[in-house]
């Protein structure tokens, strides 16, 4: 999952120091994962700065933590594009999807759109596998079924999440 997009998304709610961003990221998306290293936070921010996706509002004093980062218009466009783009179905996809859903809710975007786009991407692949299965032999059917059951599990999680969006939105403080 791209840390860069997640940091950008967090910045949509207002400028922040690297330290606050790291803490915010770990709180929201860090469950079950190692905390983000400061080094990764600052190298990611430097990359975003270089590409014009964030800008720096300097404060008096020294050190990286004196810099406040703010998202630019180009950065907002990048976040929007990322959220609207479906993820390639793969194992453990839920962590990326979870991040996208939380960011969509936090930034006032329609999380249902995101889920619909992802459902469509999953169904596209499921149709392909179903065709392969229908035209193939028993071995094809068994191989395709394994993938189909996993994709179905993703989709069931997606539907459950869609049903809980209102509840989730309430719990997110902007």
């Amino acid at each position: 999952m791209s840390v860069g997009f997640a940091l950008l998304g967090l910045l949509e709610n207002g400028p922040a120091h690297g330290y606050d961003l790291k803490r915010n990221y770990d709180e929201r998306f860090g469950a079950g994962r190692a905390p983000l290293h400061y080094g990764q936070v600052y190298s990611t921010l430097a990359r975003l700065l270089k590409h014009g996706l964030v800008e720096v509002e300097s404060e008096p004093g020294d050190g990286p933590d004196r810099k406040r980062y703010a998202i630019t218009d180009a950065g907002i466009t990048d976040v929007a594009d990322w959220l609207a783009r479906p993820e390639k179905p793969e194992p453990y996809l839920q962590s990326t999807l979870f991040t996208k859903i939380i960011l969509a809710l936090m930034t006032g975007r329609d999380a249902n759109d995101l889920l619909d786009t992802q459902r469509h991407e999953h169904l596209r692949l499921m149709r392909e596998l179903t065709r392969r299965k229908t035209d193939g032999d028993l071995a094809d059917a068994l191989i395709c079924d394994h993938a189909l059951f996993h994709l179905e599990a993703d989709l069931r999680w997606l539907e459950l999440t869609a049903a809980r969006l209102d509840q989730l939105a309430e719990g997110i403080t902007r």
Binding site: N112, D116, R119, H122, M126, R127, T134, L151, E152
Partner: protein, 226 residues
């Protein structure tokens, strides 16, 4: 989307205090298999019943082949349902006193087809759905999967233009459900019938050409192309 065969425009319908449809619009193309998905209570079955002319919306319009269903007489609407539309439900659609063959022949008999001709056509459909071996049995004597394939044969026997299927595999295990869907969609595609399929199961929806998602009585704006 062009060449829509069946359309719903801004349908609204309430059951008491409950809003079932809240401005639902949809277009179904000739020959396509469309999956209507969405959570329980989202309005997908109500939308299907409105499209099929079983329920009449309080406002909005359903058209089939350019005709407004509400403008048709009751007799014309019944005739449409008998000849142009086919139905497959989750269960309980076969007449228990008739054999499976007689059940499949029944829609043709109601259209005035001779007994002999209807039985020959019914036998052909039972064979295509791989249930010719239960032709002489009553619905209570066959398995759930066989019963659903008989129901599909009955829906297809009049060669309808649209088949409405509401959770057709809802009461079956995955293996039987898959078999029903495989034979059902293959047969529908061969005859050129469009299928409007209500399902909450992704593996069933994977037999469709595209999906439309119903939520809170509306069809989500993204009606994804195949």
């Amino acid at each position: 989307m062009t060449d829509a065969l069946l359309t719903a425009h801004d349908l609204r319908l309430r059951f008491g205090e409950t809003t079932a449809l809240d401005g639902a619009s949809l277009r179904v193309r000739a020959g396509e298999v469309l999956a209507l998905m969405g959570p329980s209570g989202s309005g997908k079955s109500t939308l299907l019943h409105c499209l099929a002319g079983i329920l009449t919306p309080e406002s909005g319009q359903v058209t089939f082949d350019g005709d407004d269903l509400a403008a048709l007489t009751d007799a014309a609407r019944s005739a449409l349902r008998r000849t142009k539309f086919g139905f497959v439900f989750q269960f309980g659609q076969l007449v228990p006193e008739l054999t499976c063959l007689e059940n499949v022949a029944l829609p043709l008999r109601l259209c005035g087809v001779s007994r002999r001709e209807a039985r020959v056509a019914a036998a052909g459909w039972l064979e295509r759905l791989e249930v010719d071996d239960v032709a002489g049995k009553r619905p209570g004597q066959v398995s759930g999967g066989q019963g659903q394939r008989v129901a599909v044969a009955r829906a297809l026997v009049t060669r309808p233009t649209v088949i409405f299927a509401d959770e057709p595999t809802g009461a079956l295990d995955s293996l039987n459900g898959e078999r029903v869907m495989k034979l059902f969609t293959a047969a529908a595609r061969q005859t050129g019938a469009a299928v409007v399929l209500v399902t909450h199961e992704a593996r069933v929806a994977a037999y469709s050409d595209r999906e439309a998602v119903v939520r809170d009585g509306r069809v989500r704006e993204q009606e994804f192309a195949a």
